[in-house]
């Protein structure tokens, strides 16, 4: 007997990401990370649960408000990746923030490391 409990939800997740607000949020996230929409979708489908994807639009808006008053967080998309998508834990976001605050820190290197971590 095939158990329904751990069934593959990827098609449902893709349906959710096709929603207007969800799609807009996924595109905005992909632009922030400098990756294709398709790759962003793959990451979101692999790492996020169904209801997080459904609420991606509202969470993205909330992250935008938080990022508006946080220069480093905005530059590294820390709020967007932790608050909005839950791809990065609070601890890891703080770790990257601390790295960025170090003298002569290269933000593009940190961005690359973040992308590697969430992929």
């Amino acid at each position: 007997m095939k158990l329904m409990y751990e069934r593959d939800l990827s098609p449902m997740k893709l349906t959710s990401l096709n929603g207007v607000r969800q799609n807009a949020a996924a595109i905005a996230l992909s632009k922030r990370l400098g990756i294709s929409r398709q790759r962003m979708r793959k990451i979101l489908i692999a790492k996020c649960d169904l209801i997080t994807l459904e609420n991606l639009g509202s969470r993205y808006d909330a992250a935008e408000i938080q990022a508006a008053s946080d220069e480093i967080g905005n530059a590294l998309s820390l709020h967007h990746l932790s608050t909005a998508a839950g791809l990065l834990s609070k601890e890891r976001a703080d770790h990257y923030r601390a790295l960025a605050q170090e003298k002569e820190a290269d933000l593009s290197d940190i961005r690359r490391a973040i992308l590697e971590e969430i992929s």
Partner: protein, 361 residues
């Protein structure tokens, strides 16, 4: 969900406490629920896609089909959006009738939500009292619109039917009946020791989680957030509306906040009926092309329609943002996280008044 703990406990998709199918997957450690995940997709309707390409007249009826509980508010928000695109004005009498209807809808929705909560904590007696009281609100809705649900009462430029003085008096009488009964039931809820044990300090939503998730409606207001689209509506302000919030942010606060809002809705209806003056109930107008994003306060929170109409009157784009989506999400990831008992999963979930039909638009 990766299994990292003792038992993965599935609740649903068919469960006596749920009005509609959804599955909650709980990861437990002993009796404690560590994390939860909600699985939707059992009753996906695809109404947004069905609307595209159809004339606006049909979309009014389709919008009502998003939700059987709050069909009135879906009808109202889409019509108001169409009116704003075309610059159609509404006579004062029709505006007041819309307000009365929407508040009756809020009363029946809040009573149903609180009934569901009482049912999940096994206080069926109070639950049935509330469900019985809801019938008075449903009778008033039927008296006003001719049917209990999906009435298509709100039409561009006004409302479909007038309210006679006789029926207005009956609705007024119903509000006094609801208020008198409600006082008794609220006292039962406030003072019930078992209700307190099952509700106070359970399913607490922190301010940080509330802000991050974009939670709306009574769930947000019970967490201390002043979020209510009615504060932007001059007619509501004229009728004496004010923001109601609580700070405890637990299951008890969410239910009590809905009770508090019921009293306010009764007052708004009475003030609305008192302000009714003879006059026309519908203005004329012509539908124009355009796009608008319009939000009004549904019983569960902000309901937004982003809609675009072309010059032929066809819908070319529509996005419906229902309040249940953020509310279910925050219930899953914040309110039901680290619950002391698996028995609190259903009650905490229901306290957020999740409408699966709205989420599965």
């Amino acid at each position: 969900m990766k299994k990292v703990v003792d038992v993965s406990l599935p609740v649903g998709p068919i469960h006596p406490c749920f009005k509609e199918p959804c599955r909650i997957k709980c990861e437990t450690r002993g009796e404690r629920v560590v994390t939860t995940e909600v699985e939707l997709g059992y009753v996906k309707k695809g109404i947004e896609k069905i609307m595209i390409g159809r004339p606006w007249q049909e979309t009014i009826f389709l919008a009502e089909r998003v939700c059987g509980i709050c069909s009135v508010v879906h009808n109202t928000v889409i019509v108001e959006a169409l009116e704003k695109i075309s610059g159609i004005t509404v006579p004062r009498r029709a505006g007041l009738l819309r307000l009365i209807l929407n508040e009756l809808d809020r009363i029946q929705s809040h009573l149903l939500a609180n009934y569901s909560y009482c049912y999940t904590i096994e206080h069926e007696t109070l639950g049935m009292y509330l469900l019985n009281l809801r019938e008075t609100a449903m009778d008033s809705l039927e008296m006003m619109t001719g049917t209990r649900v999906m009435a298509a009462y709100v039409v561009p430029g006004g409302v479909r039917e007038d309210l006679s003085a006789d029926n207005a008096a009956k609705i007024l009488e119903a509000t006094y009946h609801i208020e008198a009964e409600l006082k008794r039931f609220v006292r039962m809820f406030e003072t019930g020791p078992m209700i307190g044990l099952r509700s106070k300090g359970i399913g607490v939503l922190s301010m940080e989680d509330a802000l991050a998730s974009g939670v709306v409606g009574p769930t947000a207001r019970a967490a201390g957030l002043s979020r209510d689209a009615r504060k932007e509506d001059p007619l509501y302000l004229e009728m004496g509306w004010h923001m109601i919030t609580r700070t405890e942010s637990d299951n008890y606060a969410r239910i009590m906040l809905r009770f508090d809002e019921l009293y306010q809705s009764l007052t708004l209806i009475r003030n609305g009926i008192a302000a009714l003056e003879p006059g026309k109930i519908r203005n004329g107008g012509e539908m124009k092309a355009g796009r608008i994003k319009h939000t009004i306060e549904a019983p569960r929170g902000d309901l937004t329609y982003d809609i675009e109409i072309d010059s032929a009157g066809q819908v070319v784009f529509v996005s419906i943002q229902t309040p249940s989506i953020p509310n279910i999400e925050v219930a899953t990831h914040a309110m039901m996280k680290n619950l002391a008992s698996a028995a609190d999963v259903t009650s905490t979930f229901i306290s957020a008044d999740p409408c699966i039909a709205c989420a599965e638009r």
